[in-house]
Amino acid sequence: MNDDDLVAGYLGRLVQAARQLPPDRRAELIDEIADHIEQARAVSEASGPGLQDLLRRLGEPEAIAAAASDSAGDFAGAFAQPAPAITQPPAGRGPRRQRWLDMAAVMLTLGSVLLAPVSFVLALLGWAVGIVMLLLSSRWPRRAKVLGAVTGTLALPLFGGLLATLAKTWYWRQAGPFGWQTGTGPFISTILVTAAVVAVTLVGVRLLRYPLSQPAGPGPATTAGRTATGPAAAAAPEPAASARASR
């Protein structure tokens, strides 16, 4: 087995072991371990026994993955009681700002098409800003980001085009006695637009229903597990941690 195979095998085991982690954390962990190996190899432990020693020092991939799912719990309050007060400002102020930013991201990504009849450039600009905000937010896993971005991107030409046509037909027919409801073209367009509105709204609601703060993610589960197994000393800071998470 050559050196690259050795590293690939090790990382493969890590990928397997880290399956239960949230996607973004899994990707981050694997990146960092891969970087560590690369850096160590760049320095000296490039090959053979040196490489094996390097991987031994890193530890079993399963232990690393376990430590990663472990660190979902809150430890900052474990010894220093005042620590929660210190870590609270980002946790307390952050979510409200994040809520608004995320709301804006979803609105812009999915809703900018509504501006298409007014100005397509404006709609495009809003959509682009929305996509960037969506992708930068730490709230959603990669899959949800892709869902939002794809929906927003699809909505732009389809829904935006339809809206623009609708607006035009409406202007054209405004002179007529029954307005735009008379033609069948606009009628079909109306159904399509309604369907698009429902689909886009569903995606938007789904995105905004994601829990706000990701660090506090699997709180209750780990709390239950720890209080059941650990001695009283370790369990003590947990209620404070979960209380903070639920706030």
């Binding site: 954390r25 981050e28 962990l29 960092e32 371990i33 970087d35 560590h36 690369e38 850096q39 160590a40 190899r41 760049a42 320095v43 020092r57 890193l58 530890g59 079993e60 991939p61 232990a63 690393i64 430590a67 990663a68 472990d70 660190s71 430890f75 900052a76 474990a78 010894f79 220093a80 009681q81 005042p82 620590a83 210190i86 870590t87 400002p89 980002p90 990701q214 660090p215 650990g230 001695p231 000393a233 370790a234």
Partner: protein, 122 residues
């Protein structure tokens, strides 16, 4: 019976190690920034603190998410870009709090252990 107490003690030591490790990371950043690889190597070289270097990375990620440390990426002459860690203001405050609590805790326990040793030897 004795083995049960033994197991309990080693379990407690493992938990204590896990509990203090984050603060040891903060302490290592007390006098300036370090890059991840160097930080991990330095921590792992302290006796009995960590079992594997790899397990430190999830901890660093956690400290980042908690806003206790800040990171910047920088190019390096050899190898991939490096992520540098430094203490955030809240990390420095947390470290100071812990240092005070730890000394008090250590002195109290040391005092009691000394009494216990004297009692046992006579």
């Amino acid at each position: 019976m004795c083995c049960m107490v033994d197991g309990e003690a080693s379990n407690l030591v493992a938990q204590m190690r896990r509990g203090v490790l984050p603060f040891c990371v903060l302490a290592m950043l007390g006098d300036g920034e370090r890059y991840g690889f160097e930080l991990v190597r330095a921590l792992a070289s302290v006796d009995g603190l960590v079992t594997g270097e790899g397990t430190i990375y999830p901890l660093l990620a956690r400290l980042r998410r908690q806003g206790l440390v800040e990171t910047t990426w920088r190019e390096s002459d050899a190898g991939p870009p490096r992520r540098y860690y430094r203490l955030a203001p809240s990390g420095r405050a947390t470290l100071a709090e812990f240092t005070g609590s730890w000394r008090l805790f250590r002195d109290s326990v040391d005092g009691l252990l000394q009494v216990g040793e004297k009692g046992g030897s006579t």
